[in-house]
Amino acid sequence: MGNASFLWNAMTKSITGGLIALTISDRYASIVSVHGLSMYPTFNSSTNTFLGSLSDDYVLVEKFCLANYKFTDGDVIVFRSPNNHKEKHIKRIIAMPGDWIKVPHSYDMLKIPEGHCWVEGDNSASSLDSRSFGPVPLGLVQGRVTHIVWPPQRVGQVRRSIPEGRFSL
């Protein structure tokens, strides 16, 4: 008899804890792991392939920015992929609505439409970003990356910065 009520207690406590954790991670902040090298050297800069996914960076993503969708150039954001709503990507914002950006491999300048942003990975050589799928609607953004929390030797703030050579007005 004692076992049943103990189990019931444990179950309700873990469900409650789960709901609270889910709410906090949706509304305030959460920790996600970064896969891939599209943001090298900002994330995953240790190229130790022996450990594989154990050496992924973990970052803190804050959701307070979703109250007003106020972002600026140079922010690193997490967003749902425009091609597959189940996937999330981490890239840096290069241009905001109204800015003009030079389209790579062409002489065009593109104006970022209202409500969209242009994202690129820090490692242009291996990054699937706005150069392939175009400007990303800001409604797809899920949060902003503020700090790296793992591995311990790289704990610190993720700084806003525009990469060299991206001429945007």
Binding site: D26, N83, G139
Partner: protein, 161 residues
């Protein structure tokens, strides 16, 4: 005479009661958040773009989130969509079929197979995919299935009704 220990004891029991009550409220808010975000949420919708299906001055409708999370949103469904022109605005529109106008987009709609064309029922007063193109499925927030206010309109809003 009230000693320090009695005062401290009373303070501690009050503090414990405050803590317990706060915890109950916090748990309730969490349950509310999870229900609204993952299961079903009531919303107030207003505006002319979905006349005559939805009223101009405001209807309270129920929208479910399970179909959108699974991607099972098809032609004829009324959906709540985060506007691609202003992420702070959520609009309600109806999903059209994938066939449609031949317009040139920066991203080929066939390649991003997660695009939906949305159009308001009131084509004369609606800003929709005819202006900003198909929207990614990630922007679709919920599927409207029921109206609960005004009472004359109480009932299911499913496709075909």
């Amino acid at each position: 005479m009230m000693g320090v220990r009695t005062i401290l004891g009373q303070w501690r029991s009050t503090a414990k009661e405050v803590w317990d009550r706060t915890l109950i409220v916090a748990k309730f808010l969490c349950v509310l958040h999870v229900t609204n975000t993952y299961i079903c949420t009531p919303t107030l919708v207003y505006g002319p773009s979905m006349l005559p299906t939805l009223n101009l001055t405001g209807d309270v409708i129920l929208a479910e989130r399970i179909s959108t999370r699974l991607g099972k949103v098809g032609p004829g469904d009324i959906v709540l969509v985060r506007s691609p022109e202003n992420p702070r605005k959520t609009v309600s529109k109806r999903v059209m079929g994938m066939e449609g106008d031949r317009v040139t987009f920066l991203v080929d709609p066939k390649k991003s197979d997660r695009c939906r064309t949305i159009v308001g029922d009131n084509v004369y007063a609606s800003r929709d995919s005819r202006h900003f193109g198909p929207v990614p499925c990630g922007l679709i927030q919920a599927k409207v299935f029921f109206r609960i206010w005004p009472p004359e309109g109480f009932g299911s809003l499913r496709q075909g009704e």
